[in-house]
Symmetry: C2
């Protein structure tokens, strides 16, 4: 090994979920929205003045923070935006977790939390969720350097109500508590309503799921003005211009169209509830989901084998290999037609395997 | 101060260059390109299928790395792209500078290098440029953990030829040498031609200047496949999807239109050379620029005062307050008309001040 090679950072290369390039696939593997973005987004793209592209974007992203603030009844100074919620969450770890004490998040949760903790050399502990995958709130009562809770949690899909979140906040007055609400718009109640009471609460959301804009990379954090200023200061201090011009323009339109937002998320909720019934009929079990995916297991069949069989039919779902979750598949809720195709295959597969 | 406040990261809040919102300004302050992006970029935006927005982008950004590789005669595996060259450079610092030895870059150079070094806790030293702002290559002969050279340098505008870069590379076989070529397309020769000889060389460029796309945030690094793989591994390990769908599509078109690229950069070079003559006539002195800006000073007038006077007339240039450069203005090369307006004001200003 050459000397310069020894100075290269060692990482565990992460393999992102498959993004198949074929057109005729049923893609239920990355929790994308099956419906296109709001009509206003399409219009904004058509009307976009390309001369703007030669100019640096507004580093404060004022148009978008303003639209979001108005939508949620917050002040503009309470909103921070970034390049996807991954960017916002990573920057929040960097900004808020600078004590010597370990931060806490569940052992089964979004897979990037421990990555960012390692990246920024933040000590951390991962209390185990219980046997039914529920977070045990008592595990978060001890002294710590910060708390991160995904609600609904991923990939379990489990939502905890605001009393649960409030209890964690009441036991953690001295640290920043991040509630990652990537999936909150599919039936859960947002912790945004707790912001006036808890100045140490940061709520993070994304345009990737309920707003059909995974391709634009927009995430945002909401909290009291001190927290948002701290995030902005850190961001400005090392990369001022991150949101590009098209993200800003299209993002504003996505927020403005409340009717379309409600129509599509309600459609997804409806399809999810039907899908739960059908999964049950086929003998699957799963935690009750309030997200745009279902985390399902079947006593008679091997999750990895079903995953591969589906893939051969160009139906993509997600299979994680972690010890506690290797018997489960994470199935994104698609259109009614996509779910019909999924269930049609599963029905035949189960018959063949004698699973039902 | 509350406990959680004590855990917030302390930074020196950075104030980005002004992005005035008025329409009728002459903006020579952020080294943007005065010409719009290539016609193909405009067409690609018009033809963009917004249904793609609901899908995550290709994390490998294959279409864009492939277009860049073809353009520069490299393999696709030799190209890495990110959200602006700030993103690419920050990720390169994180990936390549993990020894205990200090990395080296000039005392007067791009202002984010020391920010990223601090962010990632990389020790660094900043050898002073000489009195005429030239980098002294001998300062880079000593043992170190890595070298970063902006060529042309910012904000001095000074370009060093490839013999100079080669000399630094020859004296630094054991570490990664980053050559930041944000301004190389305005008359300099890129170190890309040295890549076959030096496997520890990383060349970083951007779409923000010569490709008129500051608003899209696209930067890229070129080097041997080992370096590019290391960068990709680090990127994948903590934020897989960063380049959004529109950046990828429009970026590809910007690279493909070589004629437009050459036409606009040659126009800027031509305007710059004329601007040098006029600055000399007015009694300014400046290092010889091979970038899209001129770093100028005048014996008889105060740079800060001229900066403010220009601003009152809605002409924006850049003034840095660092001790060694506070007598200079950094003037971006605009269109011929914009430069005429700039010089017309300066002529009157100098007459009034008796500066000429």
């Amino acid at each position: 090994m050459k000397t310069w090679e020894s100075y290269i950072r060692k990482v565990d290369p992460y393999v992102p979920g498959e993004q198949p390039k074929e057109k005729n696939v049923i893609k239920l593997n990355t929790n994308e929205n099956p419906y296109p973005p709001a009509p206003g987004v399409v219009k904004a793209l058509e009307a976009f003045d390309t001369d703007y592209l030669r100019r640096y974007p507004d580093p404060a992203v004022s148009r978008l923070t303003s639209a979001l603030a108005q939508n949620y009844g917050l002040k503009q100074e309470q909103v921070f935006v970034g390049v996807g919620s991954d960017d916002v969450l990573a920057m929040s770890f960097l900004t808020f977790f600078n004590s010597e004490k370990p931060i806490l998040f569940p052992d089964i949760t979004y897979s990037f939390y421990d990555v960012w903790a390692k990246l920024y050399r933040i000590p951390y502990e991962t209390p185990a969720v219980d046997e039914s995958f529920h977070i045990r709130k008592e595990d978060y009562y001890k002294e710590n350097g910060g708390v991160v809770i995904a609600n609904p949690n991923a990939p379990t899909s489990i939502y905890e109500n605001l009393d649960f979140i409030r209890d964690i906040l009441d036991h953690n007055r001295d640290v920043i508590v991040i509630v990652d609400e990537a999936y909150i718009d599919f039936g859960g109640e947002s912790a945004i309503s707790l912001l006036p009471e808890y100045e140490n609460l940061l709520v993070v959301q994304t345009f990737s799921k309920s707003r059909s804009m995974a391709g634009m990379r927009i995430g945002y954090a909401m909290g009291n003005e001190k927290l948002i200023k701290a995030l902005s200061d850190v961001k400005y201090s090392f990369n001022s211009y991150t949101m590009n011009q098209t993200s800003i323009s299209l993002g504003v339109e996505a927020v403005k169209d409340v009717d379309y937002f409600n129509k599509t998320r309600n459609q997804i909720i409806s399809t999810r509830e039907k899908s739960k019934e059908r999964l049950k009929e086929f003998g699957f079990s799963f935690p009750d989901s309030k997200s745009n995916f279902i985390f399902a297991t079947h006593e008679m069949i091997d999750a990895g084998e079903l995953f591969e069989a589906l893939k051969k039919e160009h139906i993509f779902v997600r299979h994680f290999t972690g010890e506690r979750i290797k018997d489960y598949l994470r199935i994104t809720i698609g259109t009614e037609e996509e779910m019909d195709a999924f269930f049609s295959f599963v029905e035949g597969y189960l018959k063949e395997k004698g699973g039902k």
